[in-house]
């Protein structure tokens, strides 16, 4: 925990400009777009991206995940200290569990392992209609299927017609459509809601 605190305090000072730069030339010396364009190579439209994986986690050996893709392919995904993990919120590697669904983006290594840079665990993005509102849940309908959405105090945010996200959910209306970003609870038709975009 101390290292996390040290790390955060170093980064806090750096972001606010309280630390010195390595070299004066580092101020705007690099053209980031050029570096980015050189590093990425995308597949043909319509084809799968070898640097991306999707599926259910069927095994975990330390930080190596076995993932069963919904197209039948098997993926081996390596998590490292620099991998970002999203599971309802940005979180840590230990939160990635067998049975979770996942999307991962990274770099395909020569041995067939995907070295993950970002993983999104159980993330869903659904266009739904709100059929009922309770004290801690929204009853949703997605493609004719019932989905229960749990409100997480302190986390769930609402966006009303493009305005900045707020924690106030009291303007959601029964019968309206919404787009919901959330985390699926494995094996159920339930999700925890991160952001709900209310339609107008």
């Amino acid at each position: 925990m101390t290292t996390t605190m040290d790390r955060r305090s170093l980064l806090t000072r750096a972001a606010l400009g309280a630390t010195g730069l390595v070299a004066a030339g580092a101020m705007g010396s690099l053209a980031p777009e050029t570096a980015f364009a050189a590093a990425t190579q995308y597949p043909e439209p319509g084809q799968p991206d070898p640097n991306f994986a999707e599926g259910l986690i069927i095994g975990r050996n330390q930080d190596l995940l076995q993932v069963q893709g919904s197209d039948g392919r098997l993926h081996r995904i390596q998590l490292t200290g620099v991998t970002s993990v999203w599971k309802l919120r940005p979180t840590t590697l230990d939160q990635v569990r067998v049975g979770d669904g996942l999307y991962a983006r990274g770099v395909l290594m020569p041995d067939g392992t995907l070295a993950a840079e970002s993983v999104w665990v159980n993330i869903v993005n659904l266009t739904v209609s709100i059929t009922s509102i309770g004290r801690s849940t929204l009853q949703l309908e997605h493609h004719g299927q019932k989905v229960v959405g749990y409100v997480q105090p302190g986390l769930t945010a609402a966006v009303y017609n493009g305005t900045p996200a707020v924690s106030d959910l009291s303007m959601l209306k029964v019968g309206r459509h919404a787009q919901v970003i959330g985390a699926w609870r494995p094996g159920t038709n339930e999700i925890d809601i991160a952001t709900v975009y209310a339609s107008n």
């Binding site: 995308y42 999707e54 669904g101 999104w120 869903v124 993005n125 787009q179």
Partner: protein
């Protein structure tokens, strides 16, 4: 149709995990979350009747069918992907008037949905919604 500005989000398809189990292979029968594909609101009369971009005053959205290529550029970072049409969507008329600006360029209304593979190449899946510009790929 050069440079149509709007918002891009993402959707899952291909009978995958969780609520995506019931989504099927899309209107074109080819859609899969891991492929570089997208949903377009004007793939047929039946599709247009669902998405109704005209309700939001979006014009210049040409009729394009399965397999047609579009490029989507994230207005906030310049990243670009080329994808092919695999489904009908998004439901533009549900979110008329949403607007976001990046670096002086603004975009309104939802005009395209990418697969997770394609969206994550130009933005974060957790961000969900990004201003973009669409061109013929």
């Amino acid at each position: 149709m050069a440079g149509l500005n709007g918002e891009v989000s993402w959707f899952c398809c291909g009978n995958a995990w969780g609520p995506c189990a019931s989504t099927g292979r899309g209107a074109c029968g080819t859609c899969h979350s891991g492929n570089f594909q997208h949903a377009w609101p004007n793939t047929s009369d039946a599709c247009f009747a669902i998405t109704h971009p005209d309700t939001c005053g979006v014009t210049g959205m040409s009729r394009r069918t399965c397999g047609f290529r579009h490029s989507t550029t994230n207005l906030c970072n310049g990243s670009r992907v080329v994808t092919s049409i695999a489904d009908c969507g998004p439901q533009t008329d549900l979110f008329c008037g949403e607007r976001a600006c990046c670096g002086g360029t603004c975009a309104s209304n939802r005009i395209v949905d990418l697969t997770p593979a394609a969206f994550s190449a130009i933005a974060s899946l957790s961000a969900g919604l990004i201003p973009c510009t669409i061109d013929v790929g």
